[in-house]
Amino acid sequence: MSEVKFSKEHEWITLEGDVATIGITKHATEMLGDIVFAELPEKGSNVEKDGTAGVVESTKAASDVYTPVSGEVVDTNQAIVDDPSKINEDPEGSAWFFKLKMKDQSEMDSLMNKEEYDKFAKESTS
């Protein structure tokens, strides 16, 4: 599996072959608070880099989930739809959102590595 990369919209992404797994970061869940609703893209649909690909809602507000890369949705995580609190519990592990079959793997290049993202997240909070 590839190194974990991160987007400015607080998604994480890993790549295995040409299939990317995408979720939201721990930092994002801390900003959102308790997540009580999740909506995921439909399997078989195509999503475009930086386009919306789902919604999460906390007790406070709704937020769009963006996809950091383009591709076809090949799988979604029904477990987080059935129990959205899982997203707060394990955001960067079992609570992934969706898997994409990527069209253009060079889209990964512009994303941040962990160190860059941690710095970005810290700066965007303060």
Partner: protein, 367 residues
């Protein structure tokens, strides 16, 4: 304008509060445990809420003041006993609501608790209506602390002996730690609880004492989910200047004895609406599934006609599902009516339901 802080601001900070600006005040939206845990702790134990941003208006006077206030509020104040509280409204001539409030008859006159965002305007309106006949004090030297939940009576009574003898919607002055506190048995969560008016310089120590006895600080986030589960209105959402108490389904708060002769501001409109019914009415709404419908969500019938709008919507932690309140045309206001909510461009099924979503019994008849 500089943001205002309550006397508990430092205590909120040391308890890792996340702050938001609310009505010009820096207020805690939540602490480190988060809204859902804070909500559940209040329902099972005892939560402390800093509501010092709310207005505490003392108006001093005798029977003449009661007569003057009856010209303003739809209440039978002449028969209100000392230390008893009533929920009411400050309205305009069209029965539009300037503010909703709790008024308590005290020995020296009345104490009125006002919403933070409305209190200065309320003061102006009431000053104009009452003229200079009565001394009025919107008291900034006092904090207001709410303690809510099943363990609250035991905790508070261990600090202020005798509060367990108060009935719901009554209050009294108590002596504690060489100071006068005004305590009412009331609240905004659907739980048994109290609100304590205390001088600013004593507030922090008092709250620390409550925490020591097992209560925990709760932010405005959980205050909102708690009040919504309890079916209680929030000014600026369910209530505003374009809504009347009848439309808000709050006719229970209007004293029956005042309906025959009127004589309070907005009485004509109220009496007409009581007779003919209002065209829109506030209802409880439960979306099917887990969908959350926020404020301003449009409500439709099955012919694609808009029939109303959501005024508050969230996830109810004790109900364990989404809940909302809103206004619908009266023919859709019956419980179990099927409606549709437009969220992110799609229409989702929901049902009109009875309020509150969550119910406990308030304490009556302890003395």
């Amino acid at each position: 304008m500089e943001i205002k802080k309550t006397s508990l601001n430092k205590l909120h900070q040391s308890n890792n509060a996340k702050f938001v600006e609310f009505a010009g005040y820096e207020m805690p939206i939540q602490y480190s445990k988060g809204i859902i845990e804070e909500h559940k702790f209040t329902r099972s134990h005892s939560g402390i809420f800093d509501v010092s941003h709310m207005g505490q208006l003392f108006i001093y006077g005798d029977e003449t003041l009661t007569e003057e206030l009856e010209k303003i509020f739809p209440l039978d104040l002449k028969n209100l006993k000392q230390n008893c509280s009533k929920y009411s409204f400050l309205m305009n001539e069209d029965a539009g609501i300037y503010d909703d409030l709790i008024i308590t008859k005290i020995e020296e006159g009345y104490l009125i608790i006002l919403n933070a965002a409305c209190k200065d305007k309320d003061f102006e309106i009431l000053s104009n209506l009452l003229g200079s006949k009565f001394k009025m004090n919107l008291d900034n030297n006092r904090s207001l602390i709410a303690i809510q939940g099943p363990k609250s009576v035991e905790i508070l009574n261990s600090i202020i002996n005798g509060v367990d003898q108060l009935n719901f919607m009554t209050g009294n002055w108590f002596d504690s730690d060489n100071q006068k506190l005004f305590v009412t048995r009331s609240g905004y969560t659907g739980e048994d609880g109290f609100e304590i008016s205390i001088s600013n310089d004593k507030a922090e120590k008092f709250v620390e004492n409550l925490i020591e006895k097992g209560a925990q600080l709760i932010g405005l986030g959980a205050r909102d989910t708690l009040r919504l589960e309890a079916g209680l209105c929030l000014y600026g959402h369910e209530l505003d200047i374009n809504k009347t108490p009848v439309e808000a389904n709050l006719r229970w708060a209007i004293s029956k004895s005042r309906l025959s002769n009127g004589g309070f501001i907005g009485s004509k409109k109220i009496m007409n609406q009581m007779q003919d019914g209002a065209s829109q009415i506030r209802v409880g709404i439960k979306p099917e599934g887990r969908l959350i419908a926020r404020e301003k969500t449009k409500i439709f019938d099955d012919t694609d006609t808009q029939i109303g709008e959501i005024t508050s919507g969230t996830f109810g932690p004790s109900v364990n599902g989404p809940i909302a309140m809103g206004y619908v045309n009266k023919e859709f206001s019956k419980v179990d009516t099927k409606i549709l909510l437009e969220v992110r461009g799609k229409k989702h099924p929901a049902n009109v339901c009875a309020l509150p979503f969550y119910k406990k019994n308030y304490v009556k008849g302890v003395n």
